[in-house]
Structure formats: C-alpha cells, structure tokens
Symmetry: C2
Subunit: 288 residues, 2 copies
Amino acid sequence: MAIGRPSSSSSQTPDPGAARRTSRARGIPEATVARLPLYLRALTALSERSVPTVSSEELAAAAGVNSAKLRKDFSYLGSYGTRGVGYDVEYLVYQISRELGLTQDWPVVIVGIGNLGHALANYGGFASRGFRVAALLDADPNVVGTAAAGLPVRHMDELEAIVAAQHVSIGVITTPPGAAQQVCDRLVEAGVTSILNFAPTVLTVPDGVDVRKVDLSIELQILAFHEQRKAGDEPAAGDSVLDRAPGPVRAAAAKLRRAAGGGKAAEQAKSAPTGKGPEDDLSAVMPA
Amino acid sequence: MAIGRPSSSSSQTPDPGAARRTSRARGIPEATVARLPLYLRALTALSERSVPTVSSEELAAAAGVNSAKLRKDFSYLGSYGTRGVGYDVEYLVYQISRELGLTQDWPVVIVGIGNLGHALANYGGFASRGFRVAALLDADPNVVGTAAAGLPVRHMDELEAIVAAQHVSIGVITTPPGAAQQVCDRLVEAGVTSILNFAPTVLTVPDGVDVRKVDLSIELQILAFHEQRKAGDEPAAGDSVLDRAPGPVRAAAAKLRRAAGGGKAAEQAKSAPTGKGPEDDLSAVMPA
DNA sequence: CCATCTTTGTGCACACGTTCACAAACGCAT
DNA sequence: ATGCGTTTGTGAACGTGTGCACAAAGATGG
Ligand SMILES: NC(=O)c1ccc[n+]([C@@H]2O[C@H](COP(=O)([O-])OP(=O)(O)OC[C@H]3O[C@@H](n4cnc5c(N)ncnc54)[C@H](O)[C@@H]3O)[C@@H](O)[C@H]2O)c1
Ligand SMILES: NC(=O)c1ccc[n+]([C@@H]2O[C@H](COP(=O)([O-])OP(=O)(O)OC[C@H]3O[C@@H](n4cnc5c(N)ncnc54)[C@H](O)[C@@H]3O)[C@@H](O)[C@H]2O)c1
C-alpha cells in the first residue's frame, strides 16, 4: 500500500489560484516543482557514481515515481533527453538546479533555538544545496549568546539588521506556536518573503509572501487514520447512528447535544489523553 | 501570495490508486483526511475557550481554508452541523478524533536518537493527540543507555521484542539516510505498518505498509523556486537556448554534452556549494 | 403558525494531476 | 544508407480536488 498524494510536503495555502499564477507563470505545475528536488537528489547520487546517462525508467525508480510522470515533468523544463538513450545526468542536474534557483545560495535565518532549532542548525543537509544559515535568533536571554553548530545565537533585536545586511529572504520558524505569528510578522516586516514554519499554527501573511509548513503531528494523525482502516476498525459507530438519519431526528440530536454541553469531559478525555508535558498547542486560535 | 497545494505534508507514494482504495473505502478523499487534523486543532482551541458552536466560515478562517471546502470535507463524515447555527464544537472534536483513530492511543517507536531524534523525543505535541513514545532506539553503543526526555535509549536488538510487546504499529525513522532503508525493513519485519521517515531517502516497503516523509531540504528548495520567480529572475537562459530549438540542433547539442563529460566540475560547483559538514545525502541511490 | 434570516449540504463546472499508449526521434549495427 | 531496437515527448482520457452558487433546513421573533 501507499497512501496520500505524491505531492510535496504541506503548504498551507487555501488558494490554488495563487499557485497557478505563481508557478504556471512560465508553465511549471506546482506538483512538478515539488518533485524536482526528488529527481535532483537521485541524480546527484548517480552523478557521484559517475553514471553518465539514465533512462526515465531508471531515474523514476530511484525517485520513487512513475516514469510517465517523470517524463512529463521534465517536458515542462524543456527537451533535455535523447531518444533511445535517456538523460545526461550532469546536464540534468544543472538544469534542475537552475530551475529551482539553486545556482545561487540562499541565506536563511532560524528563529527559536530550542530543541528543534538546534537540530536544524546542526543539519548538514542544509548547506548541501546552497542554503546557508545566516543567523540563529532567539528571544530568551539565557539562550542568546550560547553557540549552536558553531554559530552564536543572536538576539531578536538584531533580526532586522541581519536580514537587511545579508539579504535574507527565507526564514525558518521554530518557536512555540504562541509566538509564531508574531515572529512571522516581524520577519515579513524585515523583508523576508519565504517562510518555513514548524510551529503548529496557521500563519497569516500578506500577498507576496510564501509559507510552507512542516507538521509532525499532522503526519502522525494521517498515518493513524490509515492504520485504523487497516485494522478493519470501522471508526466505532458509537452513538452516532442517529446522525446518519435524515431530517428532524438529526436536528433533535443536535439540539440535545448542545443542551447537554456535549459531554465534554468524557469525550475530551478519550480524544486527547494529554499525557504530560507542556502542551503548547493552545495558540492556534481563531484570528477573527 | 500563497504557494503549493493545500494538501498535506508529503507522502511518497507513486500510486494514487492505492490511496483511493484505502481511504475511499467508505468515501473519505485523501485530501480531506489530510485536512482533518487542521480542523481538529482549530476546534480544540475553540473547545478550550469553551466556545459552544462555530460556523463553517469561522472555522474555515481558523484553519486557513475555504469554507466551502470545509463543509464538503465534513459532509464526507456525515451531517454533523445544524443549519442556521453551525457546528457543535465538542461533538465535532469527538467525531473527527474518532474518524482519525485518535480515540485510541498509538504507541510509537523512534529510531535514531541523534539531533532530530532527541528533539522529537522532547516534543510535547507528540503525546497531546494520543501518540505515546513506546521506545527510543539507536544502534550506537555510546548513545544506548543515555536518557532522552526521561526515556532510556534502547538498543536496536530490542526492537522486535518492544514492537511485539507493546503492539507498536507506527515507527519514526531519524537515522542517517544510509541506514534508513535497512531500519525500515527491520521495522516492517517486526510488524510496524506505518512509517514516518525524516531521512532524505526513498523507502521501499511491501504492500500494506504506509510511508510518509518529512523533508526539510525539499521544502526549502520549493521555497527557493518561488523566491527566484519573485525576483523576476527567469532561471538564467544561460547556454541552453539551443535546447529549445527543435530537431537536429538539439541532438547535436546532446551529443556534445555527453562527449564533453558535461562540464561536471564547473556546474557541480555552482549547483551545490557544499559548505562543509558531513554530507549524508549520498544514500538515495538507485535501488535497481 | 408564519415570515425572515442564517447557515448547511451539495450539484455542477472547471482546474489540476496522473496515466496510458504511441508516433517520432535517435543510436547503432550492418 | 537502411533497418531495428530503444526511449523520449506528448496528446488524450480519466480521476481527483476545488469553489461557486443555491435550495433546503433549521432558528428566531412576533
Ligand atoms: N521538537 C520537535 O520535535 C517538534 C516537532 C514538531 C513541531 N515542533 C514545533 O516546533 C516548535 C519548536 O519546538 P521546540 O521543541 O524546539 O521548542 P522549544 O521550547 O525547545 O524551543 C522554542 C524556542 O523558541 C524561543 N522563543 C520563544 N518565543 C520566542 C520569540 N517570540 N521569538 C524568538 N524566539 C522565541 C524559546 O526561547 C526557545 O528557545 C514548536 O512550535 C513545536 O510545536 C517541534
Ligand atoms: N537534524 C535535522 O534538523 C534534520 C532535518 C531534516 C532531516 N534530517 C535527517 O534526519 C536524520 C537524522 O538527522 P540527525 O541530525 O538527527 O542525525 P544524527 O547523526 O545526529 O543522528 C542519527 C542517529 O541515528 C543513529 N543510527 C545510525 N545508524 C543507525 C542504525 N542502523 N540503526 C539505528 N540507529 C542508527 C546514530 O547512532 C545517531 O544517533 C538524517 O537522515 C537527516 O538527514 C535531519
């Protein structure tokens, strides 16, 4: 089995119209863009083995996709293959790198140097594709001044100056969710136009700013959904059979639920056993 | 602006047919499943504020999606709203939790307790939705025996026993990419049927096993692509104008490239400035 | 009990993404 | 030069996802 869409990691846009305008500007579908890094990784591995050419079939296998899809993806970039032979590995590495904008390097700031921020700062794969950590930033005076991965942690006060001086256009947010929107606003104000958000919050940004998010908890929940299905465990029909009924029956049930307060305690306990730990999920509140 | 598809974080399936079979079994589209955790988060926040009901418009705003989409998503679960009023918050929290399988708890093992593994072990949001860390595992004798987030790091030898004893069905891989496939195979062999992979590798698994991946590097590359577009920086037409030409001209160019060895050194240097650090990307090699 | 107002649930049209399948293009051997 | 085997590039069909727009359902006030 294999679940989910083959598309890239989450973005948080509710507006595919914008996506179209952005990436179809000269014709590369968003789904294709999301796969280019995958191809690039496979190609880089081939390049290191000095493999000169590769067929769509081989490369597709290495990247974990369908070969027809791969060929169509490449067709959006131009005709870089040779019929009867395949693709020139080095040339394709270059073309994809160029298309993704990896022929220049991108300074990045990481804001919130806690557990996750430290891990990211230490991550080698960062630099490997032209992403340079321009600065690590935190608001906590106890953290500021310490070093992570050889870089000093700077205070948030310096954010604007750093972004301006180093022309930083990408920011990574690894603060608690409660601080994420505020940090985001400040990054945007300072001139950052792309944000990668690890905090479980919906960020609001002005037009012209891109946000992508990575959310571990969501991934696990999706896995749990499919896991439950596998167990043949139909989601426990429970007390809700009457909700499948049409008309007045359902309405009555709804009324009852509201009147009774929904049985919050019992259901809440079941749905979120809140083990321990400082639960920091409480900031994804309604903006309006 | 807002880029990308509103879909969930990355899966790595090349086979949407499987997704359909799995999730449309009783009719919930994969795209909807991926949004349910988002709704749940927003609803939980409302619940904590003791808000009794919420309209699709309000909830959609809180979750960062379109209200029509939200209503359609909920319609796959059944008719849980009340026209003229909205949705009962507590009740909806319960229904979504149930649908996602969060009314039971899911023991999880984390394999590879390095930078990232530590961060995940410390992550509070883990337990908050019924995911319990059953064990932390590592192969390095220096790491085994140390504690992370109050839990002891166990040796890989114990994997099978732990998975069996605690009925673990979800595994998280945070090892270097070179070890990921091997660890994955062992997890699957031991009985794990859902895997969340943080290593930048394409994992091959048998039918019946779900894999989702989280890849920071891919996210950054997608952001870079759009960032480049914003800069009006058309991907530097460079030397490839002749590749847009049809017919024999292109063929000749291809031949030349292959003969010349593709100019590996120069282009490689541009495309991957390989700052420093132990580059661990070198395992995404061709499986075939 | 009726009128009015709000909000859901969904039919429909369209956009996007995937896959099939095949003609055209190319390398290579003869 | 010609023919043969291989592989690309893409037109077309299909499936999935999105968003509009509106009828129907219910709440509420008189
Ligand atoms: N740890 C994980 O594995 C993990 C996994 C998924 C998501 N997350 C999310 O990532 C975020 C960070 O997680 P963590 O475990 O590293 O948390 P953490 O508490 O260890 O680190 C947060 C850091 O942000 C800093 N900070 C707080 N407010 C700030 C502000 N206004 N400006 C700048 N810095 C500020 C804090 O000083 C702290 O150093 C959280 O939102 C968490 O939900 C973490
Ligand atoms: N650090 C990050 O922020 C980050 C971000 C994105 C992706 N990643 C990826 O996550 C993975 C882990 O990154 P990291 O920075 O924590 O690396 P790390 O080197 O700090 O930790 C890896 C751990 O895995 C253990 N390990 C190695 N081989 C193993 C095996 N066969 N079985 C069990 N354990 C084994 C090692 O002992 C080590 O403790 C890597 O694949 C990396 O590319 C890391």
